[in-house]
């Protein structure tokens, strides 16, 4: 763990991305304090204005402050991104541990079900689930969470397969440890590294999917601000007020870019094959 910490702080990309992500998280957490206005408040006399001292990033077609909406949008994006990945990690880890540890027909059954889920393009399955459950934040989280379960199941199962016959697992079994104890206290701690890398990459994917769903009008519902929804609304007015589109795009790009670069950097740090290159 100490070497990990040292390598982490030697890696400039990782540190910079972490700082950006922390700032975003802070902005999301303190959105009510930081944003200049209420994100749904309409200033009827200030519709589709450009940047000004009063409205730093301008206003949209209802005269709502774009800056405030972007800050609150960060809240939505991060919340959906993180909670949906938590859903996938929880179920994926459970299925992966079970499939990898017990093997045989249980493994076969679990992995065939995962193959079925995996065969769908991400966005299409998420669309179908949201279509069934109805739009809204909670259902969006659930849909994206379900879509990503197979990735984590595969990751955990692979890691379990490579360690389940090692001596410390065997000795745990020899002293009579119960199966759940072996699974969660002996094996699980040793699969956290690949899980962490996969999770940080999956968060960016989840944020992308959320914004795509909201863009299609099936994710977060207006008037709640979400970046995808803002871009979708702004399309009609793009020639009159390009800022309405550009700023949410910038916010999304920065967020997803830092997630991706952070994930890549953590993988480089953890994976001995990438080290030193």
């Amino acid at each position: 763990m100490r070497t990990f910490r040292r390598r982490f702080f030697e890696n400039k990309t990782a540190v910079v991305c972490l700082i950006v992500l922390l700032l975003l998280a802070l902005a999301a957490a303190f959105a009510p304090v930081l944003s200049p206005y209420d994100p749904t408040q309409m200033f009827q006399d200030h519709r589709m204005e450009g940047s000004s001292g009063e409205f730093i990033l301008g206003t949209d077609q209802f005269g709502r402050d774009i800056m405030s909406r972007i800050i609150y949008g960060a809240r939505v994006s991060l919340m959906v991104g993180i909670s949906s990945v938590l859903v996938s990690v929880a179920f994926g880890t459970l299925f992966g541990l079970i499939a990898g540890y017990f093997g045989r027909w249980i493994d076969g059954l679990v992995m065939r079900v995962m193959d079925v889920l995996f065969a769908f393009p991400e966005i299409l399955l998420a669309l179908a689930i949201v279509a069934a459950l109805g739009p809204g934040a909670f259902n969006t989280i659930l849909a994206i969470g379900i879509v990503n379960i197979p990735i984590f199941t595969r990751t955990v199962r692979g890691a379990v397969l490579s360690i389940k016959n090692q001596e410390y697992v065997e000795s745990a079994r020899a002293i009579g440890a119960s199966t759940p104890r072996i699974l969660f206290l002996e094996i699980f701690p040793n699969v956290t590294a690949p899980l962490l890398v996969q999770a940080s990459l999956a968060i960016s994917g989840a944020i992308l999917t959320e914004s795509a769903l909201s863009f299609l009008g099936l994710g977060i519902q207006p008037p709640d601000p979400s970046w995808g929804g803002m871009i979708s609304e702004a399309r009609r007015y793009m020639e009159l007020a390009p800022g309405m589109i550009i700023w949410p795009c910038v916010a999304m790009t920065i967020t997803i870019l830092s997630c991706n670069m952070f994930g890549d950097a953590v993988r480089d740090i953890l994976d001995p094959r990438h080290r030193g290159k």
Binding site: A119, P121, L124, L127, A128, P242, C249, L257
Partner: protein, 308 residues
Amino acid sequence: MGSYLIKRIISLIPILVGISILVFTILHLVPGDPASIMLGTEATPEAVAVLRAEMGLDKPLISQYLHWAGGLLQGDFGVSVHTGEEILPQILKRFLITLQLTIMAVVIGWTLAIPFGILSAIRSHSKTDKVIRILTLLGISVPNFAIGTLLLLGLSLYFNWFPPIDVVHFWDDPAEAFKVFILPAVTMGIVVAAGVMRMTRSAFMETMDKDFIRTARAKGNSQWTVVMGHALRNSSIPIVTIAGMQIGYLLGGSVIVEQLFSIPGLGQYVLDGIYQRDYPVVQGGVLFVLVNLIIDLIYTWIDPRIKY
């Protein structure tokens, strides 16, 4: 090899059945009844009940599924709740449009990705490499609807150029079709390019470390011959694999791009089905996209060296 392939195809059957059950159940859990949607809000309960019986909606879920799956096997995807049209001909018509879009996106993506990927690998850790890698990361990180919207915005604002509204097939009028498809294809192509580029770079860097490359250099070959003659062919397998996978995913991912550019392809068909709660359409459309994925899976299984 032959028996291996047959085994693989047979093992696909439970997956296909699983997929069809999943698609069927997801959409049948939905509150809201297709029969009352078809008849509108002013229909009498009796009329709705008659139609429900006619559509088989009053039967248990299992027999509904068997009926639907049996129809699928005979090429009968059912009819749209909204328009009453046969679904399969619609799907085929729209698939042709999506296919043209996909092919164009792949061509654009590859033309960008391969040369830059090679350049990035043979000049690894140089400034060129860094710039290319940052652009790739951007390609992965900017959502495709944002890229598409910004392209539309830029072209209409600064060049006063709009893509034509009516969709034309390439075999009818190539020039006009090019104008129709170029923006959505570039939008999808950028995402393709980013993925292929990453794969090209890592595959190439691995190959360039190999002994036979050193031998080729020691024989006095020029850089060009080493890269194009020796390294390219030996790095091509992972690159080709990722391309095969991408085509399947592009067909699914075209949902957003088709919606954005109003292209009446398969993605838009499924999406309209979702908006209008036209579930036979959604079921058929989603399944059809999957057929392409199955082709990819088979392809991956044909070559046992390829794993993903």
